[in-house]
């Protein structure tokens, strides 16, 4: 059988608008998920290194539980599993306000937060212990030492693995199609369904993902050069999982 290529399906009719819509939604859930993940990652990553056993234990539970379960299962859990446990009024409100969108943001944020946590912990552990001791001996409390000294330095050290994790988050946002979020992969499938041009639709989606990844990597390498502390950098395996 011969396949008739027809690249015009990508911009004729509605399909162009669908693709743009898909890019927009992908960026929205990725950016919101990223903000949640970074916030959770900084807090739990810092907790894992503080000299307070309860906080360390809490952070270990969070990280080990969330990163060891597939993102898809978390998507299902937040979208199908949680709403029946919520009060009636809240459930109604969520269903009217794009429950699948917020479930996807939650799943991405919590799952990648656990992974960011490992990156940030590695960053904090790579700072010489004397830095913390010096901060505390000048009269700062543990909280102040972390807020003013340790976390800012750690964030400057972990740009390369954090870039890796950011790219993972962007790629993983495609899993949101399983709960019906109209992101980029969802839209490429929709184009495939309407036009029966699988090759063109998937090629468009693939190229857009590659371009987004390249753009993020370029921006982050600029950031890396600007914030790098000479002689200190964290590279390595901790970012992969």
């Amino acid at each position: 059988m011969t396949y008739q290529f027809s690249w015009t399906v990508l911009w004729s009719g509605q399909t162009g608008a669908w693709l743009l819509q898909g890019i927009l939604v992908t960026l929205q859930i990725s950016v919101l998920g990223w903000l949640a993940a970074v916030a959770l990652g900084i807090i739990s990553g810092a907790f894992r290194t503080v000299p307070i056993a309860v906080l360390r234990w809490l952070a270990v539970c969070y990280v080990e539980f969330f990163r060891n379960v597939p993102l898809l299962v978390w998507m299902f859990f937040w979208y199908f599993g949680m709403p029946p446990l919520l009060p009636e009024a809240m459930r109604e409100w969520l269903l009217d306000h794009g429950a699948e969108f917020w479930a996807a943001v939650c799943a991405l944020g919590v799952y990648h937060g656990a992974r960011f946590s490992e990156v940030i912990r590695a960053g904090i552990l790579s700072i010489p212990k004397t830095q913390f001791e010096a901060a505390v001996s000048t009269g700062l409390t543990v909280l102040q030492a972390y807020r003013l000294i340790i976390v800012p330095i750690a964030l400057r050290l972990i740009v390369p693995p954090a870039t890796n994790e950011t790219l993972n988050l962007l790629k993983n946002s495609s899993v949101a199609l399983t709960i019906g979020v109209a992101e980029l992969t969802f839209q490429t499938r929709q184009i495939e369904t309407y036009t029966a041009k699988a090759f063109e639709a998937l090629a468009a989606g693939t190229i857009i993902y590659l371009a987004l990844c390249l753009a993020i990597a370029t921006i982050m390498s600029r950031v890396e050069r600007r914030v790098a502390i000479p002689g200190m950098i964290v590279r390595g395996q901790s970012s992969e999982f």
């Binding site: 080990e64 060891n68 597939p70 859990f77 992969t185 999982f241």
Partner: protein, 226 residues
């Protein structure tokens, strides 16, 4: 909350969904184990090719790795799902599509681990092996790879965990793995909280066991000794 639904469907979820015995061609382990073995073999070849001195071997393998690391797995699964029937003129079973997609996709990640592992072997080893008169291929097999493999083990097991979790995505093309099995049961019983929590625990047990193994390995081997 009523966890009887899990007990009632336990054998379907575990035997059919997780292991792969039953009326459907499914199973998380039946997909993950061959994907790990084949993905690692393909990844080793690609990783070795990336270190080749010949540009026409190095360049395609570099493009391969960079391409698949820049594309979501969901996209790759859809590629195989839609393109293979168009190329072959007939559709393949979900199992074949999912296995091919995972092997091809994960090989790119395994290739990077193999490359990093080989590069972690000190230069002096290569020089010593050359000095004793070994050619490049036997040197690779007897001197470099055995040492590289040792250094790779933590990263490899970590990638196994990633792969095991990724197999849940095979459910989007209808492959009956643990996630799909839970969906099937849920469609009948409407107990999403209990069912998805249960499969989360199953995935967790497997991943956590493997990650504990990595931690133990890293503790018992001195990171500075290569």
């Amino acid at each position: 909350m009523d966890f009887r639904v899990v007990a009632d469907n336990f054998s379907f979820l575990i035997l059919q969904g997780f292991i792969g015995f039953g009326s459907f061609a499914g199973g998380t382990l039946r997909l993950a184990l061959p994907a790990i073995v084949l993905g690692f073999l393909l990844g080793t070849l690609v990783g070795l090719a990336r270190l080749s001195r010949t540009p026409w071997v190095r360049l395609p393998s570099t493009i391969y790795v960079e391409f698949f690391r820049g594309v979501p797995l969901v996209m790759v699964i859809f590629w195989f799902w839609f393109i293979v029937p168009a190329l072959l003129g007939r559709s393949l079973p979900e199992y074949a599509v999912a296995l091919t997609a995972f092997v091809v996709f994960e090989a790119a990640y395994f290739a990077e681990i193999v490359r990093a592992g080989i590069q972690s072997v000190p230069r002096g080893q290569v020089e010593a092996a050359t000095a004793t008169g070994l050619a490049r291929a036997p040197m690779m097999r007897h001197v470099i790879l055995p040492q590289a493999l040792r250094n790779m083990i933590p990263a490899l097991v970590t990638q196994f965990i990633v792969l095991l979790k990724d197999t849940s995505l095979a459910s989007i093309i209808g492959y009956v793995d643990l996630t799909k099995a839970a969906q099937i049961v849920n469609n009948r019983e409407i107990r999403p909280f209990e069912l998805y929590l249960f499969i989360a625990v199953i995935y967790w047990l497997c991943s956590y066991a493997m990650s504990r193994y990595v931690q133990k390995w890293e503790r018992t081997t001195d990171p500075n000794a290569t």
